[in-house]
């Protein structure tokens, strides 16, 4: 396949955009500069490392190694979900709710064949995982902050004899909406406004656009399915954890 090879100077030029943004944040005192630079740095280091790892994994194509890398990716995604929460669940819940929901989400859509061929399995897993992670962390964030903010309204309903399902419904709905917002938006706008990264990558690498589109549609289905499954499990699980058998609101189970 013929494609334009990127030089390191191209990358350096593009990184100026991020630096300019960080500068802007400093000037306007938005407090984003540190986080943005840290995230950029992590992105560069992690992607470089993963490039090396994938290269050697492709050479070996061992089910064990592929599995190990997949598990590591999932565990890291779980940690990311936890780290992004303003209000975390107490104890083991803070980590296991997000991670468990993601594992559940993945058992649905991801069935590459052969599953251990890292050239298919890992990129697919990575794309679905990334989106599912964002969905779950947005959903949990909206759930916990919503319950804390609207505590009086939720407890007023409970005190009037509404069940926890009734009392939590508006906030659970808001949480699921915000979890699915990114994927719904990107499905709605894709092709008209945006060309998805994977499809663009395939086209840049010389693949027939029609073939690249087929792949992209598949991926969108998998992402939407994974994100919805994961978000529903995480948000309902979170709502269950923040209430109890006696239909009380249990914000004491947040840190």
């Amino acid at each position: 396949m013929n494609y334009v090879q990127l030089e390191y100077t191209d990358l350096a030029l593009a990184s100026l955009l991020v630096l300019a943004n960080a500068g802007l944040s400093l000037v306007l005192n938005l407090g984003l500069a540190r986080r943005m630079l840290l995230a950029t740095l992590r992105m560069v280091v992690q992607l470089s490392l993963v490039g090396l790892v994938l290269k050697s994994l492709f050479a070996v194509a061992s089910p064990w190694l592929t599995g190990l890398v997949a598990v590591t990716m999932i565990l890291f995604a779980g940690r990311e979900i936890m780290a992004r929460q303003e209000r975390r669940f107490d104890g083991l819940w803070s980590y296991s709710l997000g991670t468990g929901s993601m594992l559940f989400a993945l058992t649905g859509p991801v069935r590459p064949d052969p599953w251990f061929d890292p050239r298919y399995a890992l990129p697919l897993l990575g794309m679905i995982l990334g989106n599912t992670m964002t969905g779950i962390s947005l959903g949990l964030h909206t759930l916990t902050t919503g319950l804390v903010r609207d505590r009086a309204g939720v407890e007023a309903q409970l005190a009037l004899g509404h069940s926890r399902n009734e009392a939590f419904r508006p906030i659970v709905q808001a949480a699921l909406t915000s979890a699915l917002m990114p994927i719904v938006n990107s499905m709605a706008a894709t092709g008209l406004v945006s060309l998805p990264g994977m499809m663009t990558g395939q086209i840049l690498a010389g693949v027939d656009p029609a073939e690249a589109v087929k792949y992209q549609i598949l991926i969108m289905f998998l992402i939407a399915g994974g994100t919805s499954l994961g978000a529903v499990v995480a948000v309902l699980g979170g709502a269950w954890r923040l209430s109890d058998q006696r239909h009380r609101l249990r914000l004491d189970r947040l840190k």
Binding site: D150, Q157, L160, G161, R246, R248
Partner: protein
Amino acid sequence: MLEARKLSRLTLGPVDLSLEAGEVVALRGASGSGKTLLMRALADLDPCRGDVLLDDVERRAFFAPDWRKAVAWVPAEAGWWSDTVIEHFTDWQVALPLIEELGLSPDCGGWQVSRASTGERQRLALVRAISQQPKVLLLDEPTSGLDRQSVAQVETLIARLAGAGASVLWTTHDEDQAARVASRALLIENGKLAAAA
């Protein structure tokens, strides 16, 4: 009617308390002494130790939402979860006469909750709980933001409900009010309950 035995949670209790049918009991105590904790514990809104019985039936035997319909807590600052007033009522037709009795406009159902004044919201929250015909009313300073006429209307309404057999625990800082509405008063200090002098 309502009986609590060795009820305790955090700084509250252990509290023994018994309310007879038709009895209005005033609950007094400084801010932070545990009045709200006690009312929340009676309404089963916080996990706590001890037993609570309604008409000699253990609280555990009730489905929790049914318990709270029977033992209704009206907090000092009520919560709202929808935009308009009417959405907060299960049966507006039942609520309407009570709303008028408390001097509120009969078309307040269409109001935005945010448009109602503190005093109006306080009375609406009271009607919201009463219109579900609870057996026990836990009122947390139900007249704190009201003018004198509205206070009298609320006191008359509660007296009528007690006359019909409801038990009322009424938190107030106003000793004159406590003497007016209640047949006896309890004093809560550092989470411990005592009969007031």
